[in-house]
Amino acid sequence: MRVLVAWCPDWSVTAGLFELAETRSDRPPTSHEPAAVLKNNVVEVCNAAARAEGVRRGQRRRDAQARCPELALLPASPERDARYFEPVLAIVEELRPGVAPIRPGLMAVPAPGRYFGGEPHAAALVAQHLVEAGVWDCRLGVADDLFTAEQAARQAMVQDCVVVAPGTSATFLQELPVQVLATLDDDAGEGRALADLLRRLGLRTLGDFARLSAAEVSNRFGAFGLSVWQRAQGAAPAGLGSRTPPPELACEVGFEPPLESAEAVCFSVRTTAERFVQGLSARQLVAVAVRIEAEADGVVTSARTWLHPRCFTSRDLVDRVHWQLQAGTAGSGLRSRRDSGAVGAPIGRVRFLPETVEAAADHADGLWGGGADEQVTRGVARVQAMIGFDAVRVPVLQGGRGVADRQASVTWGERPVGLRPLDRPWPGRIPGPAPARVFASGLPAEVVDESGRSVAVTERGVVTGEPWRYRIDAATDIAVRRWTPVSSWAGPWPVDDGWWLSTDASGRGRSARFQLVGVDGRAWLLVWSAAGWSVEAAYD
């Protein structure tokens, strides 16, 4: 079996530039400009333009920038490389099934012998399709086995193909310098070490190496050396671990003519949502994160990833479409009933893309039910339809020092993400009963001592006077807007964060917390900073 290898040199850089082009609206660097992928501040991969400026693999960031100041620096991300290689695989898969991805930037496919009019023609066709997809630097090689085909691709010019005639793999390989072994794909760097060792032993080409006897190679270079030796003999195994094309799980529905109201869209996407969920369940999968895209005039006008605490049913998906389309309209948030339903631009297409799928068995209902009550879910969805999906919350606890930091709320139907862990010590938090009312932003207050001067805290953490009476200006309750004498107080407890910041208009800087109890029995948690007093919470 003949093998065709397509190689995209410096794929990390290409993928990084693709990502840059997607995320940046201003002019991103093109692939003809110098760019390099850095890992741990060391150049891992750079493109030809950067190499021409003297940037090399293994250089430090500073040295690389000194050689080439306009070098575009990209972070290393193997996931990104693989993600952007996936469409490239799909392009070749359309021409010839049985693509074997070897690593991002390198793939093999059984060479289509006569179908496209011979191997060079087939390679030219693959190159043409890749260039149309924006991968202009691709090189192809055709040979009897994978190793030879890869080496042939590495010898090829840009968008060109090197064909090694059947039965001539050994001749082709034996002229190559041993340095090509450095490109062998292995994690331990054995290929690089072997290439270096062979060079120091005076073996300049693979032919020199191949002329050793198998016993000598096995004794001196071990199993890895022997496998390389076999490849250099032109006897590498030709089998490809070809992949099965991934199933198409995304579903979309088009509307002709485009629909103008969210209700109409929701009504029309119902069957598509059911098909989407069924397509997943046919593979024993459920979606826990779904991306919903809505198109108007062929442009994606609204796209959002929705997380579900359990898994999406078709009704959940329809709800999410409704909320997403409503949120796009002006005046989102709290809405009255009248203006709900209109969408910004007529929707021509809605697409469901599964972002995270999990095995259905993990989410199956127990024999006696489980998860959120079905009835509660429905009822809360009704409230969400009334006042906006993000107006219904689920309170959650998280770690933190201040009382407001120690809690958060998640939109009903979403999963909490990015919470601080609770099991850390959190020095500076106030133990004891927690306040029943926690104000999102502090209410300004005044605390004075017996002589009427405002109470402050010195740099040593001592109060300048004993709190005598207090007043909370912005409270909704009239009673606490009047001066109230203090019956007991505790503190000051210096706040452990932010003291190094200068006291500016935002009120950060040195601060300390107090608990004040008024003669009326109300207890408050106040924080003092140089900008003034504010009430964080009430022990109501």
Binding site: S336, M386, A391, V394, G432, P433, P435, A436, S488, A538
Partner: protein, 192 residues
């Protein structure tokens, strides 16, 4: 003991048969014997802690509870009272639609704590009361409400633990007054 169980089961059967019955919902141990929560009725409180205490009993018994109009909800205090936050629905800012939101929550939750943003007229309150009876839910209003089964208020609150800069707030003593339309019962409590 067994008589109580039989009574409870009979109530269950009645409720399953569709008749709007008055089930009792467990209350927090601190308020036991002082007030009994019966479904289909509304209660008024004047302090956040009492509202949490009334919701805590049902939540500890595995029911769903909801809080509407309570923008400064203290989640940590709620969980210290024993409210399971995973079975809690919070609508911090229902806006002008607070009555509709409360009605929708009453449909599906056992205890709904409502903090009205505006004064409610007796007619809307009566509509909500009817919904409460039909759904066997309990409404706890933190504020004013035209007709309630009982009104709980905290009086003579005294905090222990803080003393002129030393210590910290640890416990409070308070007198809870339950006003059932003229009949008053009083209990001195010590709460954390």
């Amino acid at each position: 003991m067994s008589a109580q169980v039989v009574e409870l089961l009979q109530q269950r059967i009645e409720s399953l048969q569709g008749a709007p019955t008055r089930l009792t919902v467990p209350v927090h141990p601190a308020l036991e014997d002082l007030v009994q929560l019966r479904t289909g009725t509304s209660y008024a409180v004047d302090s956040a802690s009492l509202a949490l205490a009334l919701a805590a009993g049902a939540s500890r018994a595995g029911e769903w509870v909801g809080f509407a109009g309570w923008g400064d909800f203290g989640a940590e205090a709620a969980s210290q009272w024993g409210i399971d936050l995973r079975r809690t629905v919070l609508v911090p800012e229902p806006g002008d639609l607070w009555l509709e939101v409360a009605a929708a929550l009453v449909d599906v939750l056992k205890v709904v704590v409502l903090k009205p943003t505006t004064l409610v007229d007796p007619k809307s309150a009566a509509v909500l009361d009817a919904r409460l009876r039909a759904r066997s839910a309990i409404l706890v209003v933190w504020g004013a409400w035209p007709r309630v089964e009982a009104r709980l208020s905290a009086e003579r609150v005294a905090w222990n633990g803080a003393d002129r800069g030393r210590g910290r707030l640890s416990r409070r003593e308070l007198r809870v007054v339950v006003d059932r339309g003229g009949r008053r019962s009083v209990r001195d409590l010590e709460l954390p």
